[in-house]
Symmetry: C2
Subunit: 260 residues, 2 copies
């Protein structure tokens, strides 16, 4: 799988030949969080993202009813090209499914939002190990005591991902990820979990715990899961997201999302 | 005026004591382009901006009917705090006025978009002279042959601003403005006007011509006027913009819009 292009991987996912998380696939290309909701709430949700660009960096918004991401993955189908979706009603999970075609009506608006896989690839390239990848786990994620700027009916605490970084590499990790402003960018916090209201790093709210070694500092980045939490906060009749770790793979090289 | 805070300047504008362009006022603070239109088209216009962030960097979008920019200028009034507005109907200018309160209905949505004044301040600070400021003119702006990504009913060619830069300072100008990704960022083009479809630099489509000296290169940045052209492209019954050069002055320090 690792040698396939994004389009080839999406075709395999669409055919049901890949049903697992997408971490490590097409590592040079941006993967995306997905939120789908009714056009009645599309302005307010886009406004939420605009007001909170660090956790919710918008890569593409599809036209109402459109299922082809024409800008970031021409030829793809947003209804079938994610390995696993979650369907929500009034904030409750009602189904996990690999195909949302039956649910996708003419008023549905799909939002693709940047994902930290993009900068993890850059960190590794810069010689900064990424613990969750080395341990084969999903990254540790936490709700914080910081509130995002709301856009009614959407609100959310800032959700962060945490990676333990060797003290002598913290500055490099900041600089490397700071280049990726359109996919979360520089850390929102370095060091003290309690300053973010996180009581126990071993018990993440999402994802898996990872080991933290002596002489390592926990570093926190804004996390795209914030967009899912915000989308569900409105209690809409229907909202569809990707299942954790099962991202949409775009044709956008990570490097296109970097500056400087 | 130069020693006043943004809030003090806005109060003077509101009181009718300042009716001129805002260039040079509160130079450390971000000034903004303004577009106001009906909420029926707010999602599509925000989508246009999201798809074209370099010319249309959104600083704040107000709630429908709200006239206070709570995030970028708490206490301000978007209806009175710009020295001169333009009122448009079906794409035609119908009025210039310093007060749009009578026009501002409960469904109006106000968009504030970043402005190159922010990086001009940084250029000067970095020792890169800005010709339009030195000559007391409005910057030269041109429609290009590049089309922005549309979001129906909004479309526009990319509009650029041009500043002649001494050849030995071009690289510095690129680096300095590249830090300001949320206010147009690095140049979109350096050197050849014809590559952008610009036939005669002496005849800008907006603003004033400036002198270009030997050993200077024309450098082109994405320009916020693009947002006005796009807003007018839809032929809406009512659209309100700032008059050229008469910007809204926010409380956001320019430095907050820079990275790295």
């Amino acid at each position: 799988m690792n040698t396939l292009s994004p389009a080839q991987i999406r075709a395999k996912i669409r055919a049901g030949e890949w049903k697992k998380p997408t971490s490590g696939l097409a590592p040079a290309y941006a993967q995306a969080n997905l939120v789908i909701l009714d056009r009645k709430f599309a302005f307010e949700f886009l406004l939420f993202c605009q007001r909170n660009p660090q956790p919710c960096p918008v890569l593409e918004v599809l036209e109402p009813g459109d299922h082809e991401p024409r800008l970031t993955a021409p030829g793809a189908d947003i209804r079938t090209d994610v390995p696993l979706y979650r369907v929500w009603s009034k904030g409750k999970l009602v189904e996990e499914t690999p195909d949302i075609t039956p649910r996708f009506g003419p008023g549905m608006v799909s939002f693709l939002l940047g994902c930290s896989f993009s900068f993890e690839h850059a960190l590794i390239g810069a010689g900064v190990p990424v613990r969750n990848i080395d341990e084969g786990k999903n990254v540790s994620m936490y709700r914080t005591n910081r509130q995002c700027t709301p856009a009614a009916p959407f609100s959310s605490p800032l959700v962060v991902s945490m990676r333990p970084i060797a003290n002598e590499l913290v500055a490099r990790a900041v600089l490397v990820t700071g280049r990726y402003a359109s996919v979360h960018g520089a850390p929102v916090h370095v060091g003290n979990p309690e300053a973010l209201g996180i009581k126990n790093l071993d018990k993440p709210d999402f994802g898996d715990p990872v080991s933290i070694r002596a002489n390592e500092t926990p570093v926190f980045w804004a996390c795209g899961v914030t967009s899912s939490v915000a989308a569900l906060s409105a209690g809409l009749d229907l909202c569809i997201t990707h299942a954790p770790g099962h991202m949409f793979i775009t044709d956008i090289p990570n490097e296109n999302l970097a500056t400087g």
